[in-house]
Subunit: 416 residues, 2 copies
C-alpha cells in the first residue's frame, strides 16, 4: 500500500529542520557526490527512462514531448554538471542582511534562512527533478517533488539515487520525497498542506501554473509566462533595432523571454518595417500585423485581439504600429505578462520614461529581451523567472529560495 501523502509531507517537514542549519561544505559534498553517482549509474537511469519512453510512445506522445522526456547520455551529463555548478555558487543561507542596535540595547539581526519545505510541481521533464534537488538542497530546503506520471520510472530512479546519496553524506533521506499522486484531487489535496509546505513552485506550461494558482492555499511563486515586447521608438538607431528585434524573436523562440509582439512608432514604421519583416520572414517567422502594418508590408495575416495576448513560443510575431511611446507603454501594461520588455531609442527621456512606466520584472533600453536569465544577470543557476510581484520578481536564483529570520540578542529587555 502506498504511504499516506500527508504522512510523507509531514515527515519531510520534520526532516527539513536538520537540513536548515547544515554547513555549506556538507551540502556541496552532497551535490558533487550526486553528480558522480548519476554519471556512474547512467546505464541504470537510462534503463528506467526507457520504460517511460516506451509507455509514452505506445500512448502516442508526440516527438517534441518524447524529446523532453528522454534522459540521454548528454542530458545525464548536463544534470551532473548543473549540480557541480550549483556546488560552486555561494551559499545564501546565514547571510546577515542588515541589523542594528536599538536604543534599548536589543541587538537585532536579519538573517537569511531556508524557506523550509518547497513543493515543485512539474511536467514530464525528469531533468527538472535533479535541477530542483540541486537548487533546493543548496539553499537548505527540503523538497516535495511531484512530477508527471509519464516520467514516473525516471523520477523514481533519480529520487532513489538522491536518497542514497543523502544517506551517504549523513543527511536524512526524508528531505527529498517524490509524490506519486496520480489524480488531480490528490494534487489539490497536496496544495492544502499549508502547515507543512512553505512554498509551491509550478514549473511548466500556462495550464499547469493556472491550475496550481487556483487550488493552492500554500503561497505560490508563479514562473514563466512571457508575452514580451520590443518597442522601436521613432528616434531608434534602425540598424540596432533590427538586430535586437531579430535576436529577441528568433534566437530561441521557444523560451519565455523571447519577443512576441513588435511595437513600432508610426513615424519610423514606413522605413523600418519592410526590411525587418523581410529579414524575419527569411528566418521563417510568420507575421501577424495590425491594419497599418499590413498596409506597409503587404502580404501578412491580420492580428486579432487574441494575438496581442499571445505567448506564441514559436516563430510567429505580432506587429503593431503605435502613435508613440504612451500608446506603446499602455499596450504593454495591458496585454503583456510583466516579464521582459524593451525599448530601442536614442532619446534619453523616452528611455527613462519607458523604464519607469512599464510594469514588468525586467525592462530594457537598447538590448534584447533574451537577457532575462539568472546566468546572464550574474546569479548563477535559476529555478525560473517570477512574473508575480510578491517575494521574487524576475530570475530566481538560490537567494530567492530563502526567507529571513530576525535574531534578537537581548540582555533582559522587557517592553514598558
Amino acid at each position: 500500500m502506498r504511504e499516506n501523502m500527508k504522512d510523507i509531507v509531514r515527515r519531510t517537514k520534520e526532516a527539513s529542520y536538520c537540513l536548515a542549519n547544515a554547513s555549506s561544505l556538507s551540502k556541496n559534498q552532497f551535490l558533487l557526490r550526486l553528480a558522480d553517482n548519476l554519471e556512474r549509474e547512467e546505464e541504470e537511469i537510462k534503463k528506467e527512462n526507457r520504460r517511460d519512453l516506451e509507455k509514452a510512445k505506445s500512448a502516442g506522445m508526440k516527438s517534441s514531448l518524447l524529446d523532453r522526456l528522454e534522459l540521454s547520455s548528454s542530458r545525464i551529463k548536463a544534470m551532473a554538471s548543473g549540480l557541480r555548478e550549483v556546488a560552486n555558487l555561494p551559499d545564501p543561507v546565514g547571510e546577515v542582511i542588515e541589523g542594528s542596535k536599538r536604543p534599548n540595547g536589543l541587538l537585532i539581526t536579519k538573517v537569511r534562512v531556508p524557506l523550509g519545505v518547497i513543493a515543485i510541481i512539474y511536467e514530464a521533464r525528469p531533468n527538472v527533478t535533479i535541477d530542483s534537488v540541486g537548487l533546493g538542497i543548496k539553499s537548505g530546503n527540503a523538497l516535495i517533488l511531484r512530477g508527471s506520471s509519464s516520467a514516473i520510472y525516471s523520477n523514481r530512479i533519480l529520487v532513489d539515487k538522491t536518497k542514497e546519496t543523502l544517506s551517504q553524506c549523513g543527511f536524512p533521506p526524508q528531505v527529498v520525497n517524490l509524490l506519486e499522486c496520480e489524480t488531480h484531487e490528490e494534487v489539490q489535496e497536496l496544495l492544502t498542506f499549508r502547515d507543512y509546505i512553505d512554498a509551491v513552485i509550478p514549473r511548466g506550461g500556462a495550464g499547469l501554473i493556472k491550475s496550481v494558482i487556483e487550488h493552492s492555499q500554500i503561497p505560490v511563486i508563479e514562473t514563466g509566462v512571457g508575452n514580451c515586447h520590443v518597442y522601436v521608438d521613432k528616434s531608434a538607431d534602425k540598424e540596432m533595432a533590427k538586430k535586437i528585434v531579430i535576436n529577441a524573436k528568433t534566437q530561441r523562440p521557444s523560451v519565455c523571454n523571447a519577443c512576441e509582439t513588435l511595437l513600432i512608432d508610426k513615424e519610423i514604421a514606413p522605413q523600418f518595417l519592410l526590411p525587418v519583416v523581410g529579414a524575419l520572414k527569411e528566418k521563417g517567422v510568420e507575421i501577424r500585423g495590425c491594419e497599418k502594418t499590413k498596409e506597409l508590408v503587404g502580404d501578412i495575416k491580420l492580428a486579432t485581439e487574441e494575438d496581442w495576448y499571445a505567448e506564441y513560443l514559436d516563430l510567429i510575431l505580432a506587429v503593431k504600429v503605435v502613435g508613440g511611446i504612451e500608446e506603446a507603454i499602455n499596450h504593454i501594461n495591458k496585454y503583456g505578462s510583466h516579464h521582459s520588455e524593451a525599448i530601442v531609442t536614442q532619446d534619453y527621456m523616452a528611455a527613462r520614461r519607458f523604464l519607469e512606466e512599464v510594469d514588468a520584472a525586467a525592462v530594457y533600453v537598447n538590448a534584447s529581451t533574451r537577457f532575462t536569465d539568472g546566468g546572464e544577470f550574474g546569479m548563477g543557476a535559476e529555478i525560473g523567472i517570477s512574473t508575480q510581484k510578491l517575494h521574487a520578481r524576475g530570475p530566481m536564483g538560490l537567494r530567492e529560495l530563502t526567507t529571513v529570520k530576525y535574531m534578537v540578542w537581548g540582555t533582559g529587555q522587557i517592553r514598558e
Copy 2:
C-alpha cells in the same frame, strides 16, 4: 445601481500607474492634507460613525466590538497623527537595491517599485481604512478596501474624505476605492481578480485570514496569528526570566506578540514555577499546566492538546515542564505559529542553538516577545506582522509593500 466590482478594480489598476511614479513630496503633501482634513471634519465623521454604532447596538454587538467600531475624537486624532508619522518616514520607492555592469556591458540595476494594487480585507475597525491609506499611498500603491458592512457609513465617509484630498493634491481619486461587496461570494470573486490586484492582505482574526487564504488566487500576505512561547532554560537568571515571562504575558495580552505558553526546564522548574505562577495569578492570569506543572504548583487546570495550539489573546497561560532545550525547540516548532519565540538563558551555546533551530519570524534571547513590532524594530509604522515565509516575514513596514524591477541599460546588446 452599484458599479460593477470588476470595473472598479480594473479602474483602480489603471489609476495605479499614475501613482507608481509620484514624487515623495506629492505623496507626503497628500498625507499631511488628509490628516488636516480628517481633524477639521471630525464632526461629520463622528456623525456617520454614529449611524454604524446605532445599527450595531440594535443588532446586539458586544461592547468590545462596539469599542473597536467607534471613531472617538481621540481615535480621529490618532488616525491623523498616524498619517503625519508616515509622511515623515523615508519613501521606499526608487531605492536602487543593487546592480552591476555585466561583462557584455549591460548595466543592470534592481530598483524598488510599488506592488501596484493592494486589496486590504478587514473587520469592523474603521481606523484601519486610514491606516491602510497612509501606508498604501506612501509606498505608491493603489488600494482596494473591503471593510466590514457593520462599518459601512464610517468607511464611506473616510474614503470620501480620502478621494477629495486625492483630487485636491492632483492624484486620480480612483487610486483608493471602497468595495461594498456584501456577500461572501462577492468577496470570493474579488479574490480571483489576479490580473488587477497584486497582493491581498487580510487584517483581522484567524477566521478572516483562513477564509482569504482558502479562496484567494491572488498572492496573500498572511499576518498576525501569534502563539508565542517563552522557554526558561535551566541556566536562566531566574529574576530576569520572571520579569520577561510576566511582561510577555501581561503587558498587553490581546496582541499577537504576547506569550501564550511558558516552557520550563525540569531542572529549574521546582524553584522557578511557584513564585512566577503566584505573580501571574496576582495579575489575574489563569494557568493551564501539564501534569508536572500541576504537581509543582497545585491548584491549576490541566492543559489539553488544544491548549498547546491556542492563541488565547487573553490572561491565560499554558505551562509545560520540558526535559531540556531540544524538547522545547521541538514543542515550539510543532505547536507554534512561527511568530515570536524567546529563550531565557545564561548558556551561550543554548542561546545560539535556540536562535538557529527555532523556526519563527523573530527569535529572542533574554528579551520579551512583545518587541516584535515595526516601531520597536526601527521600521516606523507597520501594516502587520507576517507569519508566512514568502515575500515578508516579521513586521511589515513600507518596504514590505513594494516589489522590485530590474532596469537594464544597454547599448545594443543581443544574446549570442
